[in-house]
Amino acid sequence: MRTTVPVIIAFLSGFAMILLFFISPEHSKIGTVELEPEVLSWVTIVGGFTLLLGVVSILRVNYVAVQRKKEGWIYNLATLVSIFAMAIPAILPESWSPLLGTGTGSIYDWLFNNLDAPMMSTMFAMLAFYIASAAFRAFRARNAEATLLLITAALVMLWRVPMGEMLLSGIHESIPEKINTYIMNGANLAVQRGILIGAALGAAAMSLRIMLGIERTYMGK
Protein backbone atom coordinates (compact mmCIF):
# COMPACT_ATOMS: atom_id res chain seq x y z
CA MET A 1 0.00 0.00 0.00
CA ARG A 2 2.65 2.51 1.07
CA THR A 3 4.91 1.68 -1.88
CA THR A 4 2.63 0.11 -4.47
CA VAL A 5 0.09 2.95 -4.63
CA PRO A 6 2.75 5.65 -5.30
CA VAL A 7 4.32 3.42 -7.98
CA ILE A 8 0.89 3.00 -9.66
CA ILE A 9 0.23 6.77 -9.44
CA ALA A 10 3.67 7.51 -10.96
CA PHE A 11 3.09 5.04 -13.80
CA LEU A 12 -0.43 6.23 -14.60
CA SER A 13 0.40 9.94 -14.46
CA GLY A 14 3.52 9.45 -16.59
CA PHE A 15 1.68 7.27 -19.08
CA ALA A 16 -1.14 9.83 -19.29
CA MET A 17 1.36 12.55 -20.24
CA ILE A 18 2.88 10.35 -22.96
CA LEU A 19 -0.57 9.47 -24.26
CA LEU A 20 -1.69 13.12 -24.30
CA PHE A 21 1.34 13.99 -26.42
CA PHE A 22 0.10 11.73 -29.22
CA ILE A 23 -3.54 12.85 -29.08
CA SER A 24 -4.52 16.12 -30.74
CA PRO A 25 -5.83 18.81 -28.33
CA GLU A 26 -9.34 18.63 -29.89
CA HIS A 27 -9.63 14.97 -28.93
CA SER A 28 -8.18 15.30 -25.45
CA LYS A 29 -10.88 17.46 -23.92
CA ILE A 30 -13.38 16.91 -21.13
CA GLY A 31 -16.13 19.40 -21.94
CA THR A 32 -14.27 22.61 -22.72
CA VAL A 33 -11.25 21.76 -20.61
CA GLU A 34 -8.09 20.71 -22.48
CA LEU A 35 -6.44 17.90 -20.54
CA GLU A 36 -2.74 18.52 -21.22
CA PRO A 37 -2.53 22.15 -19.98
CA GLU A 38 -4.82 21.19 -17.09
CA VAL A 39 -2.54 18.37 -15.93
CA LEU A 40 0.51 20.62 -16.34
CA SER A 41 -1.22 23.20 -14.17
CA TRP A 42 -1.85 20.51 -11.53
CA VAL A 43 1.84 19.60 -11.58
CA THR A 44 2.78 23.28 -11.18
CA ILE A 45 0.43 23.62 -8.21
CA VAL A 46 1.75 20.51 -6.42
CA GLY A 47 5.31 21.60 -7.34
CA GLY A 48 4.62 25.01 -5.77
CA PHE A 49 3.64 23.32 -2.54
CA THR A 50 6.91 21.34 -2.70
CA LEU A 51 8.79 24.62 -2.66
CA LEU A 52 6.76 25.81 0.32
CA LEU A 53 7.58 22.50 2.02
CA GLY A 54 11.26 23.40 1.66
CA VAL A 55 10.70 26.80 3.25
CA VAL A 56 8.72 25.23 6.13
CA SER A 57 11.61 22.82 6.62
CA ILE A 58 14.08 25.76 6.86
CA LEU A 59 11.74 27.42 9.36
CA ARG A 60 11.59 24.25 11.50
CA VAL A 61 15.36 23.76 11.53
CA ASN A 62 16.02 27.38 12.47
CA TYR A 63 13.19 27.52 15.01
CA VAL A 64 14.53 24.44 16.81
CA ALA A 65 18.03 25.99 16.88
CA VAL A 66 16.67 29.22 18.38
CA GLN A 67 14.42 27.41 20.86
CA ARG A 68 17.28 25.23 22.13
CA LYS A 69 19.67 28.20 22.08
CA LYS A 70 22.20 26.20 20.07
CA GLU A 71 25.61 27.75 19.34
CA GLY A 72 25.16 30.64 16.93
CA TRP A 73 21.37 30.70 17.45
CA ILE A 74 21.36 34.44 16.84
CA TYR A 75 22.15 33.72 13.17
CA ASN A 76 19.23 31.28 12.98
CA LEU A 77 17.04 34.02 14.45
CA ALA A 78 18.25 36.39 11.70
CA THR A 79 17.19 33.79 9.10
CA LEU A 80 13.76 33.42 10.69
CA VAL A 81 13.20 37.19 10.90
CA SER A 82 14.26 37.71 7.28
CA ILE A 83 12.01 34.91 6.00
CA PHE A 84 9.00 36.44 7.76
CA ALA A 85 9.98 39.99 6.77
CA MET A 86 10.02 39.00 3.11
CA ALA A 87 7.16 36.47 3.03
CA ILE A 88 4.39 37.98 5.19
CA PRO A 89 4.09 41.37 3.40
CA ALA A 90 4.19 39.48 0.07
CA ILE A 91 1.29 37.19 1.03
CA LEU A 92 -0.96 39.92 2.45
CA PRO A 93 -3.29 41.49 -0.17
CA GLU A 94 -2.15 44.61 -1.98
CA SER A 95 -5.60 46.16 -1.49
CA TRP A 96 -4.87 46.64 2.21
CA SER A 97 -1.82 48.81 1.63
CA PRO A 98 0.57 49.62 -1.26
CA LEU A 99 3.38 48.33 0.97
CA LEU A 100 1.93 44.82 0.81
CA GLY A 101 1.92 42.34 -2.10
CA THR A 102 4.75 42.10 -4.59
CA GLY A 103 4.17 45.24 -6.69
CA THR A 104 6.60 48.13 -7.19
CA GLY A 105 7.05 50.06 -3.96
CA SER A 106 6.06 47.14 -1.75
CA ILE A 107 8.18 45.89 1.16
CA TYR A 108 8.84 42.70 -0.83
CA ASP A 109 10.06 44.73 -3.81
CA TRP A 110 12.23 46.97 -1.60
CA LEU A 111 13.82 44.03 0.21
CA PHE A 112 14.48 42.24 -3.07
CA ASN A 113 16.05 45.24 -4.81
CA ASN A 114 18.03 46.59 -1.87
CA LEU A 115 19.07 43.48 0.01
CA ASP A 116 18.49 40.21 -1.82
CA ALA A 117 19.68 41.19 -5.32
CA PRO A 118 22.86 43.08 -4.18
CA MET A 119 23.77 40.25 -1.81
CA MET A 120 23.21 37.69 -4.56
CA SER A 121 25.55 39.50 -6.95
CA THR A 122 28.11 39.98 -4.14
CA MET A 123 28.04 36.24 -3.43
CA PHE A 124 28.60 35.44 -7.10
CA ALA A 125 31.27 38.16 -7.38
CA MET A 126 33.13 36.53 -4.48
CA LEU A 127 33.35 33.37 -6.53
CA ALA A 128 35.69 35.26 -8.88
CA PHE A 129 38.35 35.18 -6.13
CA TYR A 130 37.83 31.50 -5.40
CA ILE A 131 37.83 30.56 -9.08
CA ALA A 132 41.06 32.53 -9.52
CA SER A 133 42.72 30.82 -6.56
CA ALA A 134 41.49 27.39 -7.69
CA ALA A 135 42.80 28.09 -11.18
CA PHE A 136 46.17 29.14 -9.79
CA ARG A 137 46.46 25.74 -8.08
CA ALA A 138 44.87 23.60 -10.79
CA PHE A 139 46.12 25.24 -13.99
CA ARG A 140 49.55 23.74 -14.25
CA ALA A 141 50.60 22.59 -17.69
CA ARG A 142 51.42 19.10 -16.35
CA ASN A 143 50.26 17.21 -19.43
CA ALA A 144 48.81 17.84 -22.90
CA GLU A 145 45.17 17.90 -21.68
CA ALA A 146 45.86 20.38 -18.85
CA THR A 147 47.84 22.57 -21.25
CA LEU A 148 44.92 22.56 -23.70
CA LEU A 149 42.57 23.62 -20.89
CA LEU A 150 44.95 26.38 -19.80
CA ILE A 151 45.47 27.78 -23.31
CA THR A 152 41.75 27.75 -24.17
CA ALA A 153 40.77 29.39 -20.87
CA ALA A 154 43.43 32.09 -21.31
CA LEU A 155 42.40 32.75 -24.93
CA VAL A 156 38.68 33.00 -24.07
CA MET A 157 39.34 35.28 -21.09
CA LEU A 158 41.45 37.55 -23.29
CA TRP A 159 38.89 37.46 -26.08
CA ARG A 160 36.04 38.44 -23.70
CA VAL A 161 37.58 41.82 -22.73
CA PRO A 162 38.12 44.73 -25.13
CA MET A 163 41.79 45.13 -24.22
CA GLY A 164 42.43 41.40 -24.74
CA GLU A 165 40.62 41.47 -28.03
CA MET A 166 42.79 44.40 -29.09
CA LEU A 167 45.93 42.50 -28.08
CA LEU A 168 44.84 39.39 -30.00
CA SER A 169 43.97 41.52 -33.03
CA GLY A 170 47.45 43.02 -32.77
CA ILE A 171 48.98 39.57 -33.35
CA HIS A 172 46.66 38.87 -36.26
CA GLU A 173 43.40 40.67 -36.96
CA SER A 174 41.46 37.44 -37.58
CA ILE A 175 42.33 35.78 -34.22
CA PRO A 176 39.24 37.03 -32.27
CA GLU A 177 36.96 35.86 -35.07
CA LYS A 178 38.75 32.50 -35.29
CA ILE A 179 38.35 31.98 -31.50
CA ASN A 180 34.62 32.59 -31.90
CA THR A 181 34.34 30.30 -34.93
CA TYR A 182 36.56 27.35 -34.04
CA ILE A 183 36.62 27.34 -30.23
CA MET A 184 33.19 28.65 -29.19
CA ASN A 185 31.10 27.57 -32.18
CA GLY A 186 33.29 24.59 -33.06
CA ALA A 187 34.92 22.47 -30.35
CA ASN A 188 32.89 23.94 -27.47
CA LEU A 189 29.59 23.53 -29.31
CA ALA A 190 30.48 19.94 -30.27
CA VAL A 191 31.24 18.96 -26.66
CA GLN A 192 28.14 20.72 -25.31
CA ARG A 193 26.09 18.90 -27.91
CA GLY A 194 27.66 15.56 -26.98
CA ILE A 195 27.02 16.17 -23.28
CA LEU A 196 23.46 17.34 -24.01
CA ILE A 197 22.69 14.22 -26.06
CA GLY A 198 24.18 11.96 -23.38
CA ALA A 199 22.37 13.74 -20.55
CA ALA A 200 19.06 13.72 -22.46
CA LEU A 201 19.34 9.97 -23.08
CA GLY A 202 20.17 9.50 -19.40
CA ALA A 203 17.19 11.63 -18.32
CA ALA A 204 14.86 9.70 -20.62
CA ALA A 205 16.16 6.38 -19.25
CA MET A 206 15.78 7.61 -15.67
CA SER A 207 12.23 8.81 -16.42
CA LEU A 208 11.37 5.36 -17.73
CA ARG A 209 12.82 3.79 -14.58
CA ILE A 210 10.67 6.09 -12.42
CA MET A 211 7.53 5.31 -14.40
CA LEU A 212 8.15 1.57 -14.22
CA GLY A 213 8.81 1.74 -10.49
CA ILE A 214 12.44 0.58 -10.76
CA GLU A 215 13.74 3.90 -9.46
CA ARG A 216 12.15 4.62 -6.07
CA THR A 217 14.66 6.90 -4.38
CA TYR A 218 12.16 9.77 -4.43
CA MET A 219 10.15 7.73 -1.91
CA GLY A 220 13.15 7.58 0.39
CA LYS A 221 13.90 3.99 -0.66
Binding site: P6, G14, V43, T44, F49, F129, A187, N188, V191, G220
Partner: protein, 213 residues
Protein backbone atom coordinates in the same frame (compact mmCIF):
# COMPACT_ATOMS: atom_id res chain seq x y z
CA UNK B 1 20.46 62.54 -2.65
CA UNK B 2 17.74 62.18 -0.02
CA UNK B 3 18.19 60.75 3.47
CA UNK B 4 16.13 57.69 2.46
CA UNK B 5 18.50 57.02 -0.46
CA UNK B 6 21.45 57.61 1.87
CA UNK B 7 20.20 54.99 4.37
CA UNK B 8 19.41 52.59 1.52
CA UNK B 9 22.93 52.89 0.09
CA UNK B 10 24.52 52.39 3.52
CA UNK B 11 22.45 49.26 4.18
CA UNK B 12 23.50 47.76 0.83
CA UNK B 13 27.12 48.80 1.43
CA UNK B 14 27.08 47.25 4.92
CA UNK B 15 25.89 43.89 3.61
CA UNK B 16 28.21 44.02 0.57
CA UNK B 17 31.27 44.67 2.74
CA UNK B 18 30.10 42.10 5.32
CA UNK B 19 29.93 39.42 2.63
CA UNK B 20 33.27 40.44 1.11
CA UNK B 21 34.85 40.23 4.60
CA UNK B 22 34.75 36.43 4.23
CA UNK B 23 37.63 36.76 1.77
CA UNK B 24 39.78 37.56 4.80
CA UNK B 25 38.23 34.97 7.14
CA UNK B 26 34.91 33.77 8.57
CA UNK B 27 33.50 36.38 10.95
CA UNK B 28 30.19 37.37 12.63
CA UNK B 29 29.45 40.11 10.05
CA UNK B 30 29.69 37.61 7.21
CA UNK B 31 27.62 35.04 9.04
CA UNK B 32 24.80 37.45 9.85
CA UNK B 33 24.72 38.70 6.22
CA UNK B 34 24.79 35.12 4.93
CA UNK B 35 21.88 34.06 7.15
CA UNK B 36 19.84 37.14 6.25
CA UNK B 37 20.52 36.44 2.57
CA UNK B 38 19.37 32.82 2.97
CA UNK B 39 16.22 33.94 4.80
CA UNK B 40 15.38 36.63 2.26
CA UNK B 41 15.84 34.17 -0.61
CA UNK B 42 13.51 31.66 1.06
CA UNK B 43 10.99 34.44 1.73
CA UNK B 44 11.30 35.57 -1.89
CA UNK B 45 10.23 32.11 -3.08
CA UNK B 46 7.26 32.12 -0.69
CA UNK B 47 6.04 35.37 -2.29
CA UNK B 48 6.72 34.04 -5.77
CA UNK B 49 4.91 30.73 -5.22
CA UNK B 50 2.02 32.42 -3.46
CA UNK B 51 1.34 34.84 -6.31
CA UNK B 52 2.46 32.92 -9.42
CA UNK B 53 1.21 29.47 -8.41
CA UNK B 54 -1.28 29.40 -5.55
CA UNK B 55 -3.19 32.58 -6.44
CA UNK B 56 -2.83 32.62 -10.24
CA UNK B 57 -3.02 28.90 -10.98
CA UNK B 58 -5.29 27.67 -8.19
CA UNK B 59 -7.35 30.15 -6.15
CA UNK B 60 -8.22 32.65 -8.94
CA UNK B 61 -9.31 29.97 -11.49
CA UNK B 62 -11.36 28.32 -8.72
CA UNK B 63 -13.11 31.45 -7.50
CA UNK B 64 -13.36 33.38 -10.79
CA UNK B 65 -13.32 30.62 -13.43
CA UNK B 66 -15.35 28.02 -11.55
CA UNK B 67 -12.60 25.40 -11.85
CA UNK B 68 -13.57 23.71 -8.58
CA UNK B 69 -11.55 20.59 -9.46
CA UNK B 70 -8.33 22.51 -8.82
CA UNK B 71 -8.97 21.76 -5.16
CA UNK B 72 -7.53 18.25 -5.90
CA UNK B 73 -3.94 19.42 -6.65
CA UNK B 74 -4.36 21.78 -3.67
CA UNK B 75 -5.13 18.80 -1.41
CA UNK B 76 -2.26 16.85 -2.97
CA UNK B 77 0.01 19.81 -2.21
CA UNK B 78 -1.16 19.97 1.40
CA UNK B 79 -0.54 16.21 1.72
CA UNK B 80 3.15 16.96 1.11
CA UNK B 81 3.31 18.40 4.61
CA UNK B 82 2.52 14.97 6.09
CA UNK B 83 6.28 14.45 5.69
CA UNK B 84 6.67 16.25 9.02
CA UNK B 85 4.64 13.62 10.90
CA UNK B 86 6.12 10.31 12.00
CA UNK B 87 3.00 8.19 11.56
CA UNK B 88 1.74 9.51 8.22
CA UNK B 89 4.95 10.60 6.51
CA UNK B 90 4.35 7.96 3.79
CA UNK B 91 1.27 9.91 2.61
CA UNK B 92 3.60 12.54 1.14
CA UNK B 93 4.70 9.90 -1.37
CA UNK B 94 1.33 10.15 -3.15
CA UNK B 95 1.65 13.77 -4.36
CA UNK B 96 5.36 13.22 -4.90
CA UNK B 97 4.61 10.18 -7.09
CA UNK B 98 2.11 12.29 -9.05
CA UNK B 99 4.72 15.01 -9.70
CA UNK B 100 7.51 12.51 -10.42
CA UNK B 101 5.33 10.43 -12.76
CA UNK B 102 4.10 13.43 -14.69
CA UNK B 103 7.56 14.94 -14.91
CA UNK B 104 8.95 11.57 -16.06
CA UNK B 105 6.27 11.33 -18.76
CA UNK B 106 7.00 14.86 -19.96
CA UNK B 107 10.77 14.26 -19.78
CA UNK B 108 10.79 11.09 -21.88
CA UNK B 109 9.18 12.97 -24.74
CA UNK B 110 10.81 16.35 -24.29
CA UNK B 111 14.32 14.92 -23.93
CA UNK B 112 14.03 12.63 -26.95
CA UNK B 113 11.80 14.77 -29.13
CA UNK B 114 13.12 18.19 -28.11
CA UNK B 115 16.79 17.54 -27.48
CA UNK B 116 18.25 14.26 -28.81
CA UNK B 117 16.63 14.30 -32.26
CA UNK B 118 17.20 18.03 -33.03
CA UNK B 119 20.79 17.87 -31.73
CA UNK B 120 21.52 14.80 -33.82
CA UNK B 121 19.93 16.45 -36.84
CA UNK B 122 22.11 19.56 -36.35
CA UNK B 123 25.21 17.37 -36.10
CA UNK B 124 24.61 15.65 -39.43
CA UNK B 125 26.48 18.31 -41.37
CA UNK B 126 27.71 18.16 -44.91
CA UNK B 127 31.41 17.31 -45.12
CA UNK B 128 31.62 18.34 -48.74
CA UNK B 129 34.84 20.41 -49.23
CA UNK B 130 33.04 22.39 -51.95
CA UNK B 131 31.30 24.44 -49.22
CA UNK B 132 34.56 26.32 -48.51
CA UNK B 133 37.45 25.67 -46.11
CA UNK B 134 35.90 27.35 -43.07
CA UNK B 135 32.55 25.59 -43.40
CA UNK B 136 34.24 22.24 -44.05
CA UNK B 137 36.60 22.61 -41.07
CA UNK B 138 33.77 23.65 -38.75
CA UNK B 139 31.59 20.73 -39.88
CA UNK B 140 34.54 18.35 -39.37
CA UNK B 141 35.30 19.72 -35.87
CA UNK B 142 31.64 19.44 -34.84
CA UNK B 143 31.21 15.92 -36.24
CA UNK B 144 34.44 14.57 -34.70
CA UNK B 145 33.80 16.49 -31.45
CA UNK B 146 30.27 15.16 -30.90
CA UNK B 147 31.16 11.55 -31.77
CA UNK B 148 34.35 11.48 -29.69
CA UNK B 149 32.66 13.17 -26.69
CA UNK B 150 29.84 10.62 -26.77
CA UNK B 151 32.36 7.78 -27.03
CA UNK B 152 34.36 9.18 -24.11
CA UNK B 153 31.22 8.93 -21.95
CA UNK B 154 30.51 5.38 -23.14
CA UNK B 155 31.77 3.14 -20.35
CA UNK B 156 30.25 -0.20 -21.32
CA UNK B 157 33.46 -1.22 -23.09
CA UNK B 158 37.06 -0.67 -22.02
CA UNK B 159 38.71 2.32 -23.72
CA UNK B 160 41.35 0.41 -25.67
CA UNK B 161 42.46 0.31 -29.32
CA UNK B 162 40.31 2.36 -31.73
CA UNK B 163 37.74 3.11 -29.03
CA UNK B 164 40.54 4.32 -26.74
CA UNK B 165 42.00 6.57 -29.46
CA UNK B 166 38.58 8.14 -30.15
CA UNK B 167 37.96 8.55 -26.40
CA UNK B 168 41.34 10.29 -26.10
CA UNK B 169 40.31 12.71 -28.87
CA UNK B 170 37.09 13.21 -26.88
CA UNK B 171 39.14 14.22 -23.80
CA UNK B 172 40.96 16.85 -25.86
CA UNK B 173 37.69 18.30 -27.09
CA UNK B 174 36.27 18.22 -23.56
CA UNK B 175 39.33 20.06 -22.23
CA UNK B 176 38.92 22.78 -24.86
CA UNK B 177 35.25 23.13 -23.96
CA UNK B 178 35.91 23.19 -20.20
CA UNK B 179 38.61 25.79 -20.73
CA UNK B 180 36.22 27.94 -22.77
CA UNK B 181 33.54 27.53 -20.11
CA UNK B 182 35.96 28.38 -17.37
CA UNK B 183 37.03 31.54 -19.21
CA UNK B 184 33.42 32.55 -19.72
CA UNK B 185 32.48 31.91 -16.08
CA UNK B 186 35.46 33.85 -14.76
CA UNK B 187 34.62 36.83 -16.94
CA UNK B 188 30.96 36.75 -15.85
CA UNK B 189 31.99 36.70 -12.18
CA UNK B 190 34.55 39.46 -12.77
CA UNK B 191 31.85 41.65 -14.34
CA UNK B 192 29.69 41.12 -11.23
CA UNK B 193 32.68 41.99 -9.06
CA UNK B 194 33.25 45.18 -11.09
CA UNK B 195 29.56 46.03 -10.53
CA UNK B 196 29.90 45.67 -6.75
CA UNK B 197 33.18 47.61 -6.62
CA UNK B 198 31.66 50.39 -8.74
CA UNK B 199 28.69 50.52 -6.35
CA UNK B 200 31.04 50.91 -3.38
CA UNK B 201 33.13 53.59 -5.11
CA UNK B 202 30.38 55.56 -6.88
CA UNK B 203 27.27 55.17 -4.71
CA UNK B 204 28.68 54.54 -1.26
CA UNK B 205 31.67 56.83 -1.78
CA UNK B 206 29.30 59.43 -3.24
CA UNK B 207 27.08 59.19 -0.16
CA UNK B 208 30.07 59.86 2.11
CA UNK B 209 30.97 62.93 0.05
CA UNK B 210 27.29 64.02 0.18
CA UNK B 211 27.30 63.63 3.98
CA UNK B 212 30.27 65.96 4.41
CA UNK B 213 29.38 68.44 1.68
Amino acid sequence: MTWIEFVQIWIIAFFTISLFSFLYKDNPFYRIAEHIFAGLSAGYYVGLVWHAVILQQMINPMTEGGKWWLVIPGILGVLMFSRFTKKYHWVSRLPLAFVMGNTAGIFILSELHGKVIPQLRSTMLSLNPAQGLEGFLLALIITIGVISTLIYFYFSKEHKGTLGAIAKTGIWFIMISFGAHFGYTVMARISLLIGRILFLIDDWGGSIIWLFS
